[in-house]
């Protein structure tokens, strides 16, 4: 099982949408995944407990210090399932 963290500025709107889309993408890929969502301020400290962090392009650099340990991916549209599928594939976590 892979652990996915999605995060946005507030943690209650966009990232909830991101979570719904990420879950769909994982299902479409046939991947067993646990997806959690968080505001960026919280995600900074909890990210290390996940396999991959998916966030918006503006927040990618927030995770520079842990990018060796955790995959960091950016998606522009929180509702675009293909973007999530690509992000997951490019991370190497799923085929």
């Amino acid at each position: 099982m892979i652990k996915v963290l999605v995060c946005c500025a507030s943690g209650s709107g966009t990232s909830m949408m991101m979570k719904l889309t990420a879950e769909k993408a994982c299902k479409a890929l046939g991947v067993d995944a646990k997806v959690e969502h968080a505001p960026i301020a919280e995600a900074k400290s909890s990210a290390r407990n996940f396999d991959i962090v998916i966030t918006s392009p503006a927040f990618v650099s927030t995770f520079d210090s842990i990018k060796d340990r955790v995959k960091i991916a950016a998606v522009k549209n929180p509702l675009s399932q293909p973007e999530y599928v690509n992000a997951l594939k490019e991370s190497g976590l799923v085929k």
């Binding site: 946005c8 500025a9 507030s10 943690g11 209650s12 709107g13 966009t14 909830m16 949408m17 719904l20 889309t21 505001p39 960026i40 918006s56 503006a58 549209n77 929180p78 509702l79 675009s80 399932q81």
Partner: protein, 152 residues
Amino acid sequence: MLLKDIVEANHYLFTDSFESWQDSIYGAAQPLVDDGTLDKEYLDKIIENVNTYGPYFIIMPDVAMPHSTLGGAGCHKTAIGFCKVKKPVVFDPEDETKNARLFFTLAAVDNDKHLQNMVQLSEMLIKDGIVEDLLAAETKEDLLDIDKKYSE
């Protein structure tokens, strides 16, 4: 489904233009302010957040989803407001993809109901053609027609 709920709650607004992006945050949320779902404090916070993070709630070109945190100060009920403005609101002068004409302002105090709202909003916005139809809408009847058209 969601649009019908929005119309029945009187949480919709059609307008021609806003003076600034700040004005659009207050203006688009006016129906939610009018019935006490939100007050100005919540909207002030959204503007503060944009000043910190940029326009984080533009979820796709033309679609803004202004919101602050769940149970944030100044938020008293769980609801979604709809606003369509004819003249695009510019959030980032250097990035046209951050312009918006459709606003879905989120208010949330009840986590379960908010999740339901987000599922409905997500399911709605991924339907092919719906953004174009919403951009062409002028009246609440148009919203109800769109709701019916995409309900299957």
